[in-house]
C-alpha cells in the first residue's frame, strides 16, 4: 500500500489575466487533483497550459503580476500568498524554457540550489545531487558548466534541479520538449517512480503524448478553458476526432488536406505538388529502448518499418516526386567534425550529401552534436578546411552574412532572432535589413503576397501588431521560421522547430517546408520527432552519441 504523501490540488473557478491584456488567458477552471494522482494537462500552443503551471507555483501573480480570480489551493494553502518555504516544500515546478531556470552555472550546483535554500544538511544535499543527476543520466557531467551542455542536456539538468527539491507535488511543463527518445522514456519511468512514492504529478504538454497516455487522468485545455476531462483511454476512444481537431492528436489522412484547403492556407505551389499529407501518427507504444541501444541504421530502419502501416495511407511529400535534379549535390559534408577549444569532442566525423529540393532530418541523442553541425554549416563555428562543400565549392572563409544569402537559419531559441517591435516588422525585416520605413524600398506585389501567404500558413495573420515576445512559444517558433522564409534561398536549416509543438502547429511547419521545397529549396531539420517527420523526409542524418561508433546518412529508400 503506497503512502500518499502527495499534495492535493484544488481549483475553483480559477481565471487569470496578464497585466495590460484585455482578455483573460484562463477562465472558470475548476478541478481537483487527489494526492498521489498523475494528471496530464494538454492543450495546443497558446491554450494556457504554461500559465496554469505558473499559477500552481504561485509565481503568478506573486511576482509575475496579473490578476487571478477564484480559489487555488495546494493542501489548503494559496501558493500566491502562503510562505515561500511552505510552497516550495509542497510543490516543485519545471518551467517551459530550461535556460530560464538554470541559475547557478554548474550542473551539480543547479541540483544543490533548491535543497540549500531549504536548509537541507550538506550530506543529504550530496545524496540528492547524486540521485537526481543519476535519474536524468547526467552524473558524469556534474562538474561541467551548464553552457557547455546541449539543449536536451540543459533540459535534463533543469529536471534534476526540481527532483532534488523532493516536493510532494511535481509540475512539469513540457519536460520532454527537447529530449531524445531514450531520455523521454527515462522521464516517463521517473514519473511512474515518483507516483509510486505517493507524490502528486501534473505534466503539461502540447500533444496527447506518452506522458498523457501514462497518466491516470487527462485534462484538455483550449482557449483557456477545460474542454475534456477523463482517463486517457476513454478520451482516446470517445473523443479522438475532437482531440485531432484541437491539434493534440494527428489528424486522420484526407481530412487534414481538406481542412487546410478550406482554410485557404495551401499555396498554389503546394496544391500543384499534391495535397499536404497530415502529420503521421506517432508510434503508439511507449518508447522503451534504453540509451545504450544504438538507434542507428538498423534501429532507424526497423522503427520506420513499424511506422509504415500508419503512414501508408498518406500521399507522399512532393519532394519525393521525380523532379529534374541537378547532378551536383547542393551541400556535401566530408568527415565534418568539431572539438571545443578545451579538447572535448562536440561532433564526431560526419559524411552526408544534401540535394536541392530535398528534405533531410538531422537526428541523434541529446549532446550528439546536431546544433554544432548546423552551426558549422552556417559558419558560426569554424569547420575544418574542405569539410563543407556548397555545389562543389569549399565554404571555408566565407563569412556568415554571405552564407546567409544562401542559407536561412532558424535558431532553437526564437527570441534571439527577434529584432523588430511587432510581428509584421519582424517578418519583413530581412527584405530591407533594418532600414526605417521612410528609407526602405516599396514592397513589390510578389513580396507582399509571399509575406501574406507565409503569415496565413503560420496562422499569424491576426497577430501582425503584437510584439514577438508576447506570442506563445509555438507562435514564436513559427514567426522565426517565416522570417527566414520571406527570402527564397536554396537551403534552410531549422534547429528543432517542432520541439514542444502540437500537431496543428507541426502541420503548419510541414506546409511551410513544402512550400519552400516546391520552390526548389532544400531543408535540413534537426528534430526529436523523427517518427512524425520521417514520412516527409528524403533522408535522415543520424548522429551517433556517446559510446557509439559513427554517424550515418540514411537515404530515402532505406527509411
Amino acid at each position: 500500500m503506497i503512502r500518499l504523501i502527495g499534495t492535493k490540488v484544488e481549483c475553483r473557478d480559477v481565471g487569470f489575466m496578464y497585466d495590460g491584456e484585455e482578455r483573460p488567458v484562463l477562465h472558470q477552471l475548476s478541478f481537483t487533483v487527489q494526492p498521489g494522482e498523475w494528471t496530464a494537462v494538454i492543450g495546443a500552443s497558446g491554450s494556457g497550459k504554461s500559465t496554469l503551471c505558473q499559477l500552481l507555483s504561485g509565481l503568478l501573480p506573486r511576482s509575475g503580476g496579473g490578476t487571478r480570480e477564484g480559489v487555488l489551493l495546494l493542501d489548503g494553502m494559496d501558493p500566491a500568498s502562503a510562505p515561500l518555504a511552505d510552497v516550495t516544500e509542497a510543490m516543485g515546478v519545471l518551467f517551459q524554457d530550461p535556460d530560464a531556470q538554470l541559475v547557478q552555472g554548474i550542473v551539480e550546483d543547479e541540483a544543490a540550489f533548491g535543497p540549500e535554500n531549504l536548509r537541507v544538511a550538506p550530506e543529504e544535499i550530496e545524496r540528492r545531487i547524486v540521485a537526481s543527476l543519476t535519474a536524468v543520466d547526467l552524473l558524469d557531467r556534474r562538474s561541467d558548466p551548464v553552457r557547455s551542455l546541449s539543449g536536451g542536456q540543459r533540459q535534463r539538468t533543469a529536471i534534476a534541479a526540481v527532483l532534488a527539491l523532493q516536493p510532494r507535488l511535481y509540475v512539469f511543463d513540457d519536460a520532454c520538449a527537447s529530449l531524445d527518445a531514450a531520455a523521454q522514456a527515462r522521464f516517463l519511468q521517473l514519473c511512474e517512480a515518483l507516483q509510486g512514492e505517493g507524490r502528486t504529478l501534473i505534466t503539461a504538454s502540447g500533444r496527447f503524448d506518452d506522458a498523457a497516455r501514462a497518466a491516470q487522468r487527462v485534462i484538455v485545455l483550449d482557449g483557456g478553458t477545460f474542454v475534456l476531462d477523463g482517463p486517457p483511454e476513454e478520451l482516446l476512444r470517445r473523443c479522438g476526432e475532437q482531440l485531432a481537431q484541437l491539434g493534440l492528436l494527428p489528424r486522420p489522412a484526407g481530412e487534414a488536406a481538406g481542412g487546410a484547403a478550406a482554410r485557404g492556407a495551401v499555396a498554389p505551389q503546394v496544391a500543384r505538388g499534391g495535397a499536404a499529407p497530415p502529420i503521421a501518427p506517432p508510434i503508439v507504444a511507449p518508447v522503451t529502448a534504453p540509451a545504450e541501444d544504438a538507434a542507428g541504421m538498423q534501429g532507424a530502419a526497423s522503427q520506420s518499418a513499424s511506422a509504415a502501416p500508419t503512414t501508408a495511407a498518406a500521399p507522399n511529400a512532393p519532394a519525393a516526386a521525380p523532379a529534374a535534379r541537378p547532378p551536383e549535390p547542393l551541400l556535401e559534408l566530408r568527415s565534418l567534425h568539431y572539438s571545443y577549444p578545451g579538447g572535448r569532442e562536440a561532433l564526431s566525423p560526419v559524411d552526408a550529401v544534401l540535394e536541392a529540393r530535398s528534405w533531410a532530418l538531422l537526428t541523434g541523442e541529446n549532446g550528439s552534436g546536431k546544433t554544432t553541425l548546423s552551426r558549422l554549416i552556417m559558419g558560426l563555428l569554424p569547420a575544418p578546411k574542405g569539410s563543407i562543400l556548397w555545389r562543389g565549392e569549399d565554404l571555408t572563409g566565407i563569412p556568415v552574412h554571405r552564407r546567409a544569402e544562401r542559407i536561412g537559419y532558424v535558431f532553437q531559441q526564437p527570441e534571439y532572432m527577434f529584432t523588430a517591435p511587432n510581428v509584421w516588422e519582424e517578418l519583413v525585416y530581412s527584405l530591407h535589413g533594418g532600414l526605417s520605413a521612410a528609407k526602405r524600398p516599396e514592397m513589390t506585389d510578389a513580396e507582399r503576397s509571399r509575406a501574406n501567404h507565409l503569415l496565413e500558413t503560420a496562422g499569424l495573420a491576426k497577430r501582425l501588431h503584437m510584439s514577438p515576445y508576447l506570442l506563445s512559444q509555438g507562435e514564436k517558433r513559427l514567426l522565426s521560421l517565416i522570417s527566414q522564409m520571406i527570402l527564397a534561398r536554396p537551403l534552410y536549416i531549422l534547429d528543432e522547430p517542432t520541439s514542444g509543438m502540437d500537431y496543428a502547429a507541426m502541420e503548419r511547419i510541414v506546409q511551410l517546408c513544402r512550400f519552400v521545397i516546391d520552390e526548389g529549396a532544400a531543408i535540413l531539420m534537426i528534430t526529436h520527432d523523427p517518427d512524425i517527420m520521417r514520412p516527409y523526409a528524403d533522408s535522415v542524418i543520424h548522429l551517433r552519441g556517446r559510446n557509439q561508433e559513427e554517424s550515418v546518412h540514411i537515404p530515402k529508400q532505406h527509411l
Binding site: 506573486r62 516550495t88 516544500e89 516543485g92 558560426l380 535558431f411
Partner: protein, 252 residues
C-alpha cells in the same frame, strides 16, 4: 570569457576567498596611495607577477585584460598629460605643453587603473563565487541574499558576454553585414546593444522567478554544500598585508 572564475589549483585558487578579498582591498588602497609613476610601475609589475605565477593566469589573458582597459586608460593618459599643470616643461607645441609633472601624474593614474583592473581580474578568475558567497554569509554574517547579489553580479558579466555572442550570431544569420561608415556602425551597435539589454532584462526577470520557485529567500538562512578550509597561514598573511599597507600609508 575573460573575466570569469576558472577552476585551478594555484596558490591564489587555494587561498580562502575572504583573506584574498582583504588582500585585494589592501592592494587597491596601496594603489590609491602611491602617487609617483615609477612606484605605480613597480607595484603593477608585482601585481602582474603575482597574477601570473601565484594565480596561474596566462600571459595571453593578462595581455587581453591590459588591452581591454587600455581603451580607456590611454585616452585618459593623453588627456591628463596635457591638462595637468607643471613647472618643468618637457615639450611645447603650440598651445600644448607637456610637463614632467603632468607626465608623472598621468602615468601614475593610468598605471593605477591597470593595477586595479588586473588585481580584480585575478581575484575573479581565481575565486569560486560559490565559496565567496558561502564565506561572506558564514563568517561575516552578510545576509545570503545580499551575498548572492555580489556573486550574481560576477556571473552576470560572462552571461552578458554569452548572450551577446548568441545575438551577434543571430544578427549575422539575418544577413547583417559588418558595418561600413559611421552611421551604419552606430546603427549596428545600437541595434546590438538594445537586443542584448532587452534579452538580459528578460533573463534577469526569469532568473528571479526561477530562484523563487526553488525556495530562494524562503528562510533567513540557508545551508551551503561546500565547506572552505581556511588555513591559518592565509589569515596571518592577510593580516601582515594589512599591516604593510598601514605602514606604507604612514611612510608615504
Amino acid at each position: 570569457m575573460l573575466i570569469q572564475y576558472r577552476r585551478g589549483s594555484s596558490l591564489l585558487h587555494r587561498y580562502d576567498p575572504l583573506s584574498k578579498l582583504v588582500i585585494l582591498l589592501c592592494t587597491a588602497v596601496i594603489a590609491m596611495m602611491l602617487d609617483q609613476a615609477w612606484q605605480q610601475g613597480v607595484f603593477l609589475l608585482l601585481c602582474i607577477g603575482t597574477a601570473r605565477f601565484a594565480g596561474q593566469l596566462t600571459w595571453r589573458s593578462l595581455l587581453l585584460g591590459i588591452r581591454l582597459i587600455a581603451v580607456v586608460a590611454i585616452p585618459y593618459f593623453i588627456l591628463t598629460g596635457l591638462t595637468v599643470k607643471g613647472e618643468t616643461v618637457w615639450m611645447q607645441w603650440g598651445p600644448l605643453t607637456i610637463t614632467t609633472e603632468g607626465l608623472n601624474a598621468a602615468g601614475a593614474m593610468t598605471l593605477r587603473m591597470f593595477t586595479l583592473f588586473l588585481s580584480s581580474m585575478a581575484y575573479i578568475v581565481t575565486t569560486d563565487p560559490r565559496e565567496l558567497v558561502a564565506e561572506l554569509n558564514r563568517r561575516l554574517g552578510v545576509p545570503y541574499r545580499f551575498a548572492f547579489g555580489i556573486s550574481a553580479a560576477l556571473t552576470f558579466i560572462p552571461l552578458l558576454e554569452q548572450e551577446g555572442a548568441q545575438i551577434r550570431a543571430a544578427q549575422q544569420v539575418r544577413g547583417h553585414q559588418p558595418p561600413k561608415g559611421l552611421m551604419s556602425r552606430i546603427r549596428y551597435v545600437l541595434a546590438f546593444v538594445s537586443s542584448v539589454l532587452l534579452n538580459a532584462l528578460r533573463r534577469v526577470q526569469q532568473t528571479a522567478g526561477a530562484m523563487e520557485a526553488k525556495g530562494f529567500g524562503a528562510y533567513p538562512d540557508r545551508t551551503f554544500r561546500q565547506t572552505v578550509n581556511i588555513s591559518p597561514m592565509h589569515v596571518i598573511s592577510a593580516f601582515a598585508y594589512v599591516l604593510l599597507t598601514a605602514l606604507l600609508g604612514w611612510i608615504v
